[in-house]
């Protein structure tokens, strides 16, 4: 048995290509409101190590279904010969010119016995009699078939469609190709397998492979985010100043350069996460400064905008608690050293000082500082930031970005929409992340420490990203 092929057919402009784009995870599939965008059958195989498990076939829409059906009816003998008549229709030499679309869409049905039909209609438009010749032709083709109601617009005619389609198709499902969450896509693939018992195994294998591949993508995204956050916490810009140069003239430029550097790091990581999910064409717009912004990056807001840190970072209470905890630990060391004679004063004062520091310092970025050089002159430098909240802001934005990208279908051509609420850090998770980041905050200059931090952060992020996308329906 060859790998099953699922031929996606239907009226023009009813979302056939969208369904293929979503299931094939391929944004190159031409999706357009203009009818007739698909002019020839395109194949989209799902391969596992080069072995095809199934193939999706995108086809042009029916254009002269009544005339095609009439030709078939004119050549009708017995019902058992219907598939042969469809084959004859496809092979008739004049039909390539007279019925180019019907020949293109029916040819995949007659070429291969292991072929299923997915008939796509738009559930937001009313059912009409013009669809009946199409469904009748598909019945004549004699292949296992399923109808997919793809609601493109806001109106709801799904029930009427369900009634009509039920007369021609054994399986009728509603599937929104543009908004379908991962689990819906998997359920649809499972339904493909139900069309023919022999197809269940390859389809099951394909689903397992897709699940594994999705987990691998999450892991790679976590790797990218982990690298970016560690790089951001080590980021530093510097400028060598002449001995008598006025440092104030350079301070602002250097701090601006520092912030831009962090933005670039974040943007680069987002681009790479999008690439992991095979999105290379998310729309971009050029800013006044000439740099390219990803629309999603813009939707997230500027990294240093006033609301961003409140939205994505830790709360003041969390920062205060974290600062208090760390400083109390240091104070406790001093108390122990004093053999308890200090009555816990160091612990208490450490906790208070650390808590206040966390409360007030959570939104602060490093300022430019001046360093003397051994050979004369001075070095103005900004960074690295010791503020753990910067890492949490970056991580929070990365999590939201990842969730949107991981759930986005490849049929979408619209702007990215972000959920209003951010993703929260529960206490246990926050502690794990803060613990993993601690070494690089203490020794940002040490390559080995940075590598070690990445290694510690990555598995935590894998869990987080997995959980984030599971919450969203995966």
């Amino acid at each position: 048995m060859s790998a099953p092929r699922f031929v996606v057919v239907g009226h023009p402009n009813k979302g056939k290509s969208s369904i293929v784009a979503t299931l094939a995870q391929d944004e190159r599939v031409r999706v357009s409101p203009e009818p007739g965008t698909t002019t020839a059958a395109d194949t989209f195989p799902l391969k596992l190590d080069g072995r095809t498990l199934y193939t999706l076939v995108d086809t042009p829409g029916f254009q002269r279904a009544r005339a095609a059906l009439r030709w078939m009816q004119d050549h009708e003998a017995n019902a058992d010969q219907h598939p042969a008549i469809v084959r004859r229709f496809v092979e008739e030499p004049q039909h390539a010119e007279k019925f180019p679309d019907e020949v293109a869409l029916l040819r995949p049905l007659v070429d291969n016995d292991d072929t299923g039909v997915l008939y796509v209609v738009d559930g937001s438009t009313p059912y009409g009699p013009e669809y009946e010749p199409e469904m009748e032709i598909l019945r004549w083709a004699g292949r296992p078939r399923m109808a997919l109601i793809n609601p493109i617009g806001p109106a709801n005619h799904v029930d009427a469609w369900r009634d009509a389609l039920g007369q021609y198709f054994g399986v009728v499902r509603v599937f929104n190709a543009v908004t379908a969450e991962w689990q819906k896509r998997i359920e649809l693939l499972e339904a493909f397998g139900q069309l023919n018992e022999a197809w269940q195994k390859p389809v099951r294998e394909a689903i397992d492979a897709l699940e594994t591949d999705r987990d691998d993508r999450r892991r790679r995204a976590a790797q990218i985010v982990s690298h970016a956050v560690v790089a951001a916490m080590r980021f530093r810009v510097e400028k060598k100043l002449e001995e008598y140069a006025n440092p104030d003239e350079h301070r602002e430029a250097l701090e601006k350069q520092y912030r831009q550097g962090l933005r670039d790091l974040e943007r680069d990581a987002m681009d790479r996460v999008e690439e992991v999910y095979d999105f290379v064409d998310l729309r971009r717009q050029e800013t006044d400064e000439g740099s390219h912004h990803n629309e999603l990056g813009d939707a997230l807001g500027d990294l240093f905008a006033s609301g961003t840190w409140n939205r994505f970072g830790l709360t003041r209470q969390q920062l205060a608690l974290m600062g208090a905890g760390a400083s109390a630990l240091l104070g406790a060391g001093a108390d122990v050293a004093a053999h308890g004679l200090s009555f816990g004063v160091f612990t208490l004062s450490g906790a208070v000082a650390g808590g206040l520091g966390g409360w007030w310092g959570g939104g602060k970025l490093p300022k430019a500082k001046l360093l003397g050089l051994p050979m004369g002159g001075r070095l103005a430098a900004v960074g690295p930031s010791r503020n753990v909240n910067l890492a949490f802001v970056l991580l929070g934005r990365a999590r939201l970005h990842h969730r949107v990208i991981a759930q986005r279908t490849h049929a979408r051509r619209d702007a990215v929409e972000l959920p209003a609420s951010g993703l929260t850090w529960d206490d246990a998770l926050r502690k794990r992340v803060a613990e993993a980041l601690r070494p690089v905050l203490k020794h940002p200059e040490d390559d080995a420490v940075a590598a070690d931090t990445r290694v510690r952060l990555e598995p935590i992020l894998i869990d987080v990203l997995r959980s984030d996308t599971r919450d969203a329906g995966s």
Binding site: A24, P33, T37, F44, Q63, G128, G153, A160, D216, V280
Partner: protein, 496 residues
């Protein structure tokens, strides 16, 4: 694949070099390449470090048909051979200089000891301190920095492959962190020990060759005050394992070369005394010039292999390669496979062509007295009087009914309005009918296609009709918009 599970430096460098080369390749292309290599190693254990190491080793030997590794391996040995040849030349040259004997002056034992015993011993001690980690503590960052500087200075002078290897090694030293950097440092130590060994070893061989082929005489002299007895006791201490080879006190005294009496006369008096020094010299070179170097070379090579193995097992790129080798490659893209390489310009963008919509007009009521009305595919007919005659075509009609509608409408000779559903696209069977109708009506009879819209969402679809029909290029054909009364998008209209 039954293969050695110990990575060599060339394997580590292959990982490093190939990773840099792979930076521009797409993830899927790399996955396809590396997954393709896995087929040959399926009989290997799937779990555990040894299995992973074997896979990775197989990868370094297979990737790019093994050319990268071959080149780096050849480069490593070329650089080592060139260094060894230079060290041998230096050793032979130094030996010819210090063992130079023309019969007028004896060979100075102390000069031999300085060049082939003291100098190697001091540098060996420094090496040992470095290898033990004492030197880096005294002078942090010195070794990788110094090693990198040396490698960098040498790299540009080396031939192609060797230069590439040296640069890769320098890269490991510079950015490798503790684990990878250690492999580079130990590689540096190994090379330096081997070269030093070559220097002393070739000097000793030259010494033996001169001894076998010529008549050498040894004496000793120094600008400093050296007590012959102390010299002898020093030698005895150094050669504690072979005290018999140390000349006796009388011989040591006799062979002082700086005397008033000419050397030739002294030599004539007791030639054996002047010849007796070769044995202690030979032993001293072997014991203090060669043996420590041998030990250090063996130690450093051993440590280098361990460091290389550790670095190889922990190399981040290695983990990526292994993951690609082990993870099944799922390709769900289109005919050309790699979705990530899409030309962005090829993907369609959503559009709502507002200029097309502006050409549409709101239709006013028409009656059948002045207009013929065709209802395509059971489209609503807003603006048509209730008693007006409406002819059907398309949809549930037969082809014969279409022909009858066409014939009757053309025969009436009045302007024609055809109502179509704005939410459905214009099909070829509709344009076929329209073109036939226009042919039969001829010029001078207006034909309007009224695109019935139910709300804002049909605007874009209606503009599609306008574009499609304007492509026919008939001046007597125009497209107008009609809005279905009392309909909203949310209304479930059901079947017509």
């Amino acid at each position: 694949m039954a293969g050695r599970a110990t990575p060599r430096l060339a394997d580590l460098l292959t990982l490093s070099v190939q990773t840099r080369r792979d930076a521009e390749a797409t993830r899927r292309a790399l996955h396809r390449r590396d997954r393709g290599l896995v087929a040959d190693y399926e009989d290997e254990p799937t779990d555990g470090p040894t299995g992973d190491r074997r896979r990775l080793l197989a990868w370094t030997r297979r990737v790019q048909n093994g050319q990268v590794r071959q080149r780096l391996h050849a480069g490593w040995w070329t650089a080592l051979t060139l260094g060894a040849v230079a060290a041998v030349f230096l050793g032979v040259g130094a030996a010819l200089a210090v063992f130079r004997y023309d019969g007028t002056r004896p060979i100075n034992v102390l000069a031999v000891l300085v060049v082939f015993v003291a100098l190697p011993l001091v540098t060996a001690a420094v090496s040992a301190l470095g290898m033990l980690g004492v030197l880096p503590r005294l002078w942090p960052g010195s070794l990788p920095g110094l090693g990198g500087a040396v490698v960098s200075a040498v790299a540009s002078k080396l031939p192609g492959a060797a230069s590439e290897t040296a640069e890769a090694l320098r890269g490991e030293l510079r950015r490798g962190g503790k684990v990878l950097g250690r492999a580079g440092v130990w590689a540096g130590w190994s090379v330096s020990q081997v070269l030093a060994l070559m220097f002393v070893g070739s000097g000793w061989v030259t010494f033996m060759a001169l001894l076998a082929t010529s008549d050498l005489a040894f004496g000793w002299a120094s600008t400093f005050e050296v007590d012959p007895e102390k010299l002898r006791s020093g030698l005895l201490s150094l050669l504690w394992f072979a005290p018999g080879v140390v000349p006796d006190a009388q011989t040591v005294e006799l062979t002082i070369s700086e005397r008033a009496v000419p050397f030739t006369e002294l030599y004539q008096a007791d030639p054996d005394a002047f010849k007796s020094w070769w044995r202690p010299l030979s032993w001293l070179i072997v014991a203090y010039g060669i043996a420590p170097r041998l030990l250090l070379a063996a130690w450093s090579v051993l440590r280098m292999r361990r460091a290389v193995t550790t670095a190889f097992d922990r190399h981040p790129a290695g983990q990526d390669v292994l993951r690609r080798m082990k993870t099944p490659l799922v390709e769900a893209g289109g005919p050309n496979g790699d979705a990530a390489q899409t030309d962005a310009g090829q993907t369609d963008k959503p559009f709502v062509d507002q200029t097309d919509l502006e050409t549409l007009e709101t239709t006013e009521t028409k009656t059948s007295e002045t207009w013929s009305v065709i209802r395509w595919s059971a489209a609503p007919t807003p603006g048509v009087a209730d008693d007006a005659e409406v002819r059907d075509a398309g949809g549930g009609c037969t082809l014969e009914q279409d022909q009858a509608t066409l014939h009757d409408t053309a025969a009436a000779g009045r302007p024609v309005r055809v109502y179509v559903k704005g939410w459905e696209p214009p099909l070829a069977e509709f344009t076929d009918l329209l073109i036939s109708l226009r042919d039969q009506l001829g010029d001078g009879v207006l034909t309007e296609v009224a695109v019935v819209r139910r709300g804002e969402t049909d605007h874009a679809a209606a503009s599609v009709w306008a574009r499609k029909l304007s492509a026919i290029g008939d001046p007597w054909l125009r497209v107008v918009a009609a809005t279905e009364p009392n309909r909203t998008d949310a209304a479930a209209e059901g079947t017509p």
